[in-house]
């Protein structure tokens, strides 16, 4: 027991968090599935048995078989190959849109929390205004005005998710500002920028990582939703959401067209949610 305590205190906070994460079966499962999907996205050209856009009239709506493990769609395209290539759109949308949210939300949130006063009042009202528009409806509106494409869908999702990061960063900065180490850094005469970037930012990274992981899950669903509505990845390029949109019309004749893309979205989103929940528990031991 003493050895365990000694080991726990001895390890760095990061290593302790990794150990706590590794003890959670759900988080480990989530992490493994996320890595699995990332590998599929990276290795798509080598893994996909067929060209994802190649049509074949002899395979129109072919049921799952040895030739087409997941069946074929209404144009005879191999569903498995489209799922494999579609992983790229989903992972890319999740990562890029959350990166946009982080790139916008964290600096704005830090500025708001650090400067306070009228800057805070103004940006908080703008954030409230953005949060008043339901996430997907705002993303749909932005994607509609920007024009339908995967890039614009990622921008729309990224902008729509930004206020959450502004709010979170602001709240974390406000809490950190009152801490002794920030007071000490200020008393030593450190410039504001250095206090914000070198002292506050490293201390608020943990909740941002948790939120970013959960936001990727939301972004994957949002990209699939926009593609389902025809506002994301454009045909014939494969995307799980657009595959479901087509599958809707053939649900009675070719249910496999709907089952696999949906299952893929579900698995990826579930994994990011499990990983996010696990990270929250691992990085913030108070949250159980």
């Amino acid at each position: 027991m003493a050895a365990v305590v000694f080991e726990t205190i001895d390890a760095s906070p990061g290593r302790r968090a990794v150990r706590r994460l590794a003890r959670r079966a759900g988080a480990v499962f989530g992490f493994a599935v996320v890595v699995f999907f990332i590998l599929i996205a990276l290795l798509a050209p080598w893994l996909a048995p067929y060209d994802p856009v190649a049509t074949s009239w002899s395979a129109v709506r072919a049921a799952p078989s040895a030739a087409h493990w997941f069946g074929a769609d209404e144009l005879g395209r191999d569903v498995l190959s489209r799922i494999i290539w579609g992983t790229r759109a989903s992972i890319l949308a999740g990562v890029v849109s959350v990166s946009i949210s982080l790139a916008l939300g964290v600096p704005i949130g830090m500025l708001t929390g650090y400067l306070g006063r009228w800057v805070d009042a103004l940006i908080s009202r703008v954030t409230d205004a953005m949060l008043a528009c339901p996430f997907l409806i705002l993303a749909i509106a932005l994607a509609a005005f920007l024009g339908p494409s995967l890039t614009n869908a990622m921008i729309a999702i990224g902008i729509s998710a930004t206020p959450i990061f502004i709010r979170l960063t602001r709240a974390q900065v406000l809490a950190a500002k009152a801490e002794d180490y920030v007071e000490a850094a200020r008393a030593l005469g450190n410039p504001h920028l250095r206090i914000a970037l070198r002292h506050i930012l490293p201390n608020i990274v943990a909740p941002l990582i948790v939120q970013a992981t959960l936001a990727i899950a939301a972004a994957v669903i949002a990209e699939a939703s926009l593609s389902f509505l025809g506002l994301g990845q454009q045909p014939p390029a494969p995307s799980w959401g657009s595959m479901l949109n087509t599958a809707r019309n053939y649900v009675d004749q070719a249910p496999w067209m709907a089952i696999w893309p949906g299952l893929s979205i579900f698995l990826l989103v579930l994994s990011f949610n499990l990983l996010g929940d696990g990270l929250r528990d691992a990085l913030d031991p108070r949250h159980k």
Partner: protein, 313 residues
């Protein structure tokens, strides 16, 4: 009470102002001449001229905003270029369908979410608890348009119990209306049930460990009375107010659910408007949604204030 409401109203007005700027600003994202883009696919010169005049497109931006905002304040959200009808009229036409769908979804979410949350808290760390948590994760991770397709496959295609899509007014045939709405309502309620389950579980766990519940148990009261009468009633207060905040999820979900089940509601209105490049309708729907969301938020705050005596003192 009045002071509290006035204070909350004071924050609502600037928020609404920024919402209006945000939504007006959407128009500026359109590439090229907004009049041509707003005119839709046909690009009828007459329509373009009419739009340029109507939206004062030759005037500076702030003047255009002023004209647009003063129309909005009077309830004029503009006209649909495609359907040639005022946007407000279109919204009011479609709204009852979505309200019915949202109400049914909320009832389903409350029943499933609260029941699962209570069971999960009372039977903490048992298989019931794990099961309820798995259900919550399932609800949060399942895209509702996929769930909709799966339910159509099972209940409409395989079993033939329910219609796959379509809408019948409840005033025409209530039974057919309920048969058409039950699947979409379940699909929409599913994700919210998961959120409500998590809120109920944590609120119940907090209340069940409080002193007054211990006192109630010490008095020898039946466990069912302790849970249902003493604990649940108090735990439900934050759950119901948080439930009001799920309105956004409900409307976002309605967009997809109505698309899957071909229900002619509010969600379908915005999707059709997007494809018809009917931008005034898109702006109108977003503005209307945001205003309703802000109002519901305000009402939830006031309700919370009313039911929580500690806030009043």
């Amino acid at each position: 009470m009045l002071k509290f409401v006035l204070q909350r109203l004071a924050t609502v007005i600037p928020t609404l102002f920024f919402v209006s700027i945000l939504i007006f600003g959407l128009q500026q994202l359109l590439p090229g001449d907004p009049a041509i883009a707003l005119a839709g696919e046909e690009r009828d010169p007459e329509t373009i001229r009419y739009l340029r005049e109507k939206f004062h497109l030759d005037e500076p931006l702030y003047v255009r905003y002023w004209y647009w905002a003063s129309g909005v304040v009077r309830g004029d959200l503009g006209d649909s270029v495609r359907i040639q009808k005022p946007v407000t009229e279109l919204i009011m036409e479609k709204l009852p369908v979505t309200i019915q769908l949202a109400t049914m979804a909320m009832i389903i979410a409350l029943v499933i979410g609260i029941t699962a949350g209570v069971i999960s808290a009372v039977k903490k760390d048992t298989w019931w608890d794990y099961g309820a948590n798995v259900f919550a994760l399932w609800g949060l991770s399942t895209p509702n348009f996929w769930l909709g397709i799966l339910l159509i496959l099972l209940f409409a295609v395989q079993l033939g119990w329910l219609p796959a899509s379509g809408y019948v007014s409840p005033f025409e045939d209530l039974k057919a209306n309920l048969a058409a709405m039950i699947m979409p309502a379940f699909v929409l309620g599913n994700a919210i049930a998961a959120v409500l389950m998590r809120h109920t579980r944590s609120a119940m766990l907090q209340v069940l460990s409080s002193d007054y519940v211990r006192t109630a148990r010490a008095k020898g009261l039946d466990e069912r009375v302790v849970v249902m009468k003493h604990a649940l009633r108090n735990a439900l207060i934050p759950v119901i107010t948080l439930g009001a905040l799920e309105f956004g999820t409900l409307l976002s979900g309605a967009v997809l659910t109505e698309q899957v089940f071909t229900i002619p509601g509010f969600g379908k209105l915005i999707v059709d408007a997007v494809f018809n490049r009917d931008y005034s309708v898109v702006q109108g729907v977003v503005l209307f949604t945001a205003t309703v969301y802000i109002t519901l938020n305000l009402l939830a705050d006031v309700a919370y204030f009313l039911v929580n005596p500690r806030l009043r003192h």
